[in-house]
Amino acid sequence: MSKATEVISPDTSAPHVGQVNGGHVHGDHLHDDHEHHDHIPKGITRWLFTTNHKDIGTLYLWFAFIMFLVGGAMAMVIRAELFQPGLQIVEPNFFNQMTTVHGLIMVFGAVMPAFTGLANWLIPMMIGAPDMALPRMNNWSFWILPGAFLILLSSLFMEGGGPAFGWTFYAPLSTTYSGDSTALFVFSVHIMGISSIMGAINVIVTIFNMRAPGMTWMKMPLFVWTWLITAFLLIAVMPVLAGAVTMVLTDKFFGTSFFDAAGGGDPVMFQHIFWFFGHPEVYIMILPAFGIISQIVPTFSRKQLFGYASMVYATASIALLSFVVWAHHMFTTGMPVYMEMFFMFATMLISVPTGVKVFNWVATMWRGSLSFEMPMMFAIAFIVLFTIGGLSGLMLAITPVDFQYHDTYFVVAHFHYVLVTGAVFSIMAAVYYWLPKWTGKMYDTTLAKWHFWCSLVSVNVLFFPMHFVGLAGMPRRIPDYALQFADFNKWISLGGFAFGLSQLIFLALLIKACKKQGEPVSAQVWDGAEGLEWEIPSPAPYHTFETPPVVK
């Protein structure tokens, strides 16, 4: 949370000539009161041509949620096949397509767009800006995304099926030994990358140029800080991913040998390039989550965030360290022992700033005045379960034991704890926190409680036993397994189905909220909430901060 809590009321009645919305200048509404001023375009063109950060935020969030359900449906296929040993439902080749596309959709289609949606909605409102700095590019960076995922999903219906080489697309499985759909996979990843880079540029330009007077760097809310650092990570590594997929494309279709030893290349070089992107990528998916939790915990503790400055520095050091740990994904590839040691020590080091964050949240709660509304419940679940994922991450950093954990379900358990109960839970916490501000109505809290408790129980039944089967020796990415893993896999699958169904409660809640059902809320919504976004009315008007507020 920022220290930017004292605000001189924004002068909302001032004339605002030249406020452009979809090419329409609101000249003739100059003297209307605020409600009537919100000239919101109607119909599909509102969404197609919108340059409004709130509309684009909504588009991103719904798109992410739909992709979450699509990727989740693929996870259901995976878990249904793994319910029992033996092949029952799908063929191994299709199973591999499911694991691959599930991963790609959840990473690039669900988690990243959801965070971009939250950035769009919140960053301008948190720093007192009227909109994102580059609104037309903002429209474009969203609207190329559905195309990218249509291409990716359509590849599943090609002869030979979609990509089946894992979301990490290791060469030469993705080059010489892959199907023709690889071309579609490469094209769609390029488009996703372009979208992410444009989104990141927009965030950086907005934060650098459009902060309200008095909103100094060290007064910025932590969500803004974490997203700023995330945006720099995105710009640094998305081009590396683009390079990797392009080399895969030319190796497969144009006769190059980047990753083929027969032509002087090296398949392990692919992994170095991929994980140079891939490791910062995992922080891209968790730093905004840290920001969200740092907004929510102080509100419901009714106490200022402990160690604001150390939170900022910890985030920055995590981001910097993320560039020098990539090869801990590759300990079994046969690196020299001194390289293994370097990457082991560097990886262990990351747990220090991450620990600082967790300690700061706990210290914020210590001697606060705690209440447990929905956002806080998700935030607490995040802290506990993300920490479990972080501790298993520390175990994975230890190279000699990583040889045993690597490519088993222990790793699957680890990254689902940090990504599902980490990133996804933080997104849900954010939605439950800011949704009343967006719609002006309190959502259905009974449904929210059902959603929370069903999700919390089922997600642990789903992912916790994966630690056990992984340690007992079950490799990941297999459609069929030895009999000693059968009991746990049954439970894991049942937990998976329950977690999937629980998200339908969330869908029902969101549909009700979007129909504007529920009790009206005040501008502040939560009695401990502080920050510029809580100064504007609920629901947030279509245009906010046309005249910048002054932050003392």
């Binding site: 600082v356 175990m395 069929d480």
Partner: protein
Amino acid sequence: MKQLTTVFAKWCSSIPFLLMSPLLFAQEASEEASSLNLRRGATDISGQVYDLHMLMFFICVGIAFVVFGVMFASMYLHRKSRGAKPANFHENVKVEIAWTVIPFLILIFMAVPAANTLIAMEDTSEPDMTVLVTGSQWKWHYKYMDSDVEFYSLLATQREQIENKFQKTDNYLLEVDRPLVIPTGKKVRFLITSDDVIHSWWVPDFAVKKDANPGFINESWAKVNEPGIYRGQCAELCGKDHGYMPVVVIAKEPAEFDKWMGEQEEIVRKAKEEEQRLLSMNMSMDELMKVGERVYNTTCAACHMPNGEGLPGVFPALKGSKMALEDQQGHIDIVLHGKSGTAMQAFSKMLSLKEIAAVVTYERNAWGNNTGDMVQAKDVNAVANGN
């Protein structure tokens, strides 16, 4: 709300106990393969790795207890419904330095034994014997570097068990036709490589997991203390049948190992003689088809499918294909040498002349391909020698 909080607090406080559970089971099940935890394994190194794992696990559980303990205490003590008033502090340099420095010291405490074990694991010098391990889609090949003995090791589980037609037996998916045999008490070095995509050779009981990279050779080693059968699996996604390429290693006492090795060398010598004898003989159509069907189903059916129709867009069909119907020379050639740039492997190393002759005959006469062609070992030999 108050009720919810208490339930939540109760539930969450059980997490550390859940974390402990592998440990409780580990003690009673240390001899048998645990279904909850790593195994201590059969080498000194795997024992060290296990100890390191348990040390890390305890430290993590300890950290979790402290952090969650403080958090749940404040959730209970400082909740609004109990009338808690918020304090005003929001920084404390001493505390912040302490919780940066203490974790750092804990890390150093972890790093020292980890580094020592790692150095020991990577020391492949002065082995007593060396085995070349080569992965290919979806089988392992073992070659003893000091002798002529080499063989492929394929999944031995019946197709019918995988398709749920037969009862699954104890070592379902963890059994092979020819396991690797090594002596106990000797430092055995493994050279690990691949013929096609990346595989990973993993025997949990040896704490050995090393990627098999095409075009490069990795090294690892094990000195097995106890005779026994040790099972593992491929650990790197390597395509369609990644789940179906197990590793089985039998460790025998040195004397027994030497006896086994002598027998194998004798078998290799006899097979070579047999091969020479077959060159001057013709096999009947029935015999060719019978041997061919067996070879096809163990070697070719994974990609080209038992019905010869392949997987459209991934693996080509043989049924009705131009090569299987017309180009006999090309057909023998592709089975012998593979086709570069595709998943089609060279089988000259894996199959005998007789087996290649039989499988080519089978492919040219099965599934309605009825060409009537018969291919004999000497025809294959002619193509192999470039005549």
